[in-house]
Symmetry: C2
Subunit: 360 residues, 2 copies
């Protein structure tokens, strides 16, 4: 087992990464403040891991709530199901929530923890690669609004993140690929050496080589923890983690939540950001080709959906959270391994990107 620390002063917490962690109650119990534990999971994960997770909390009052699976359920209505369960069981403000599942479960459970009785503890137990390398770390929680992703939410840090790499055994291939999109992102924004590692080792990761997966998760979490520790509330460099996300959120909303997986949408979005970076004179054609090759190796889309026109994109992107004073702020690349945030780019280059970077 490897342990990283997310260094946030009073709100610091450990990330444990390893095989078989869902069988180690001693990792979980110290993070339960009171006597009541509510496990939040979904219809896909429950049959696989719910009983094992319940068994971790022997001696506590354990309840669970099983939500429908999919990004389209990450909304206020589903959130309310968690509140219903908590209130029905009379869970008090010392209760602890456990998010057992992927990014949607982590985000919605974290937001329930942020707002139930004005804030209770929670533990992240991510079971998808995407959640393990990205969304479970850093305290961003929330739900979607029909017109914008993660529009409603809060910063609320977990008490710990416990990543049992064995849960990846049951992850379907499409979800594994979607998670790799966020892994590749760390290479692109701040860790060129890791990008080069991925160019070499993506086939091992796709073949689910345990050691390589554990390494990729650990290095991703290390990158994430560094960025979050430096800028918890996204006043500055944390925004770099949104490479491809403004494009990607538009794809998710435009296609209807759940149609394209988040990882798929941001893969195409990172290519769009890369193309714009090329138009800005930062990336060379060969850099863009390397990016495309990595995403394609990971079985990820490199082009946005044919159904969406440049106009669709502009309309949806204008509503994104990264917009300030009417300007769409974007994360672009100076080079592979070096991202920056800017609202200063010729708008016609964004339009050209939306028109030109499409499947022929």
């Amino acid at each position: 087992m490897k342990t990283l620390n997310v260094d946030l002063g009073e709100r610091s917490y450990p990330i444990h990464i390893g095989s078989g962690l869902l069988k180690r109650p001693e990792l979980f119990k110290p993070h339960v403040q009171g006597t009541q534990v509510m496990i939040v999971t979904n219809t896909t994960v429950a049959p696989l891991y719910l009983e094992r997770c319940r068994a971790l909390f022997e001696g506590f009052e354990v309840a669970d709530v099983v939500l429908p699976d999919g990004e389209q359920y990450k909304n206020l209505q589903t959130l309310n199901l968690i509140f219903d369960a908590l209130i029905e069981r009379r869970f008090d403000r010392k209760c602890t929530l456990v998010a057992l599942g992927g990014g949607v479960i982590g985000d919605i459970t974290g937001f329930a923890a942020a707002t139930y009785q004005r804030g209770v503890n929670f533990i992240q137990v991510p079971t998808t690669l995407l959640a393990q390398v990205d969304s479970s770390v850093g305290g961003k929680t929330g739900v979607n609004h029909p017109k914008g992703k993660n529009m409603i939410g809060a910063f609320h840090q977990p008490q710990s993140v416990i990543i049992d790499t064995d849960t990846l055994d049951t992850l379907e291939d499409r979800q594994l690929s979607a998670g790799l999109a966020e892994v590749i992102k760390y290479g692109l924004i701040r860790d060129r050496e890791f990008f080069e590692y991925l160019e070499e080792h993506l086939p091992d990761l796709l073949a689910r080589d345990k050691d390589q997966l554990a390494y990729a998760i650990e290095r991703s979490c290390w990158n994430k923890a560094e960025v979050v520790a430096a800028d918890e509330f996204e006043a500055g460099q944390r925004a770099l983690l949104n490479l491809g996300h403004t494009f990607g959120h538009a794809i998710e909303a435009g296609m209807g939540y759940g149609k394209w997986l988040h990882g798929e949408a941001i893969a195409a979005g990172m290519m769009q950001a890369g193309y714009l970076s090329k138009l800005m004179g930062h990336l060379r054609d060969e850099d863009l080709a390397r990016m495309a090759r990595v995403f394609e190796t990971a079985h990820l889309p490199i082009y946005p959906p044919d159904e969406m026109s440049p106009t669709d994109f502009l309309a949806l992107m204008a509503g994104d959270k990264k917009v300030q004073a009417g300007k769409i702020r974007l994360v672009l690349l100076k080079a592979i391994g070096q991202a920056y945030v800017t609202g200063e780019y010729p708008p016609e280059l964004l339009e050209e990107t939306l028109k030109a970077w499409r499947r022929r």
Copy 2:
């Protein structure tokens, strides 16, 4: 104009109290971070003060959303109307919300500010006595769940609280009395001298004497600000502010939100807490009589609703936020002017209170 400061380090903010403040843009504009202002108000307050409030923000992009009036609308559905308005107008994360109204508007707008795009600025402009002396100060925000009051919420401090005492001119008598319940509360929990002032001056307040009202608001806000500064997140003494609230919340939920005003419910609740304090041997009969006299002078109920049985109370109180590990924690009085929090009281004395302190 008087100005108090709520001393919370980086989150400190001023409370301005005085006549005519809704005509002074210079008090409001410095608290707007970006260019967009969303005024949230209700159908009762909008015809009276919305235009005047809009005029304060000349030069900004000003929008408004008018919610239905009443505690029964303080829920997730109404909250979503604010999100709809913000997203429709493409308000970004530098926007500022303005809560123009009573406690419900302040709580729900504050919670919208806490959670829109993971947190934006807001200004409290309370127009009821209750909101001016209590709910607008201290950063508690939230909405009700059908089974429990303020069950969903967050701590989120405003940028400022601006109290224009002229707005009390249009407040109906019943609402004025409800606000006095919270004013009296400060006397009971920590300011015996203020309680004695109220014994003498309640008739002036009911007659809407401007100077006395301004003084009562200022002294209430001073008490609130002191308590909040010492214990922002209610780890300890802030809980004293909940005198009568566990009983009162049960009344509000049991009767259906909006039937009894919050101030009315907590007045009866404070008498119940007082009666239990007497059974505990802290208060004398004459203390209880003084309390009853003050509430009756303020035209507030001193007994709980006939419709609710002791069993109803116990069931609803068991779901309150103050419950920890199954114990109903209560705020009781050692004396007039001195409250304390405890879960250590003979349960049969609580039952006796619920049975005995009722209208004959």
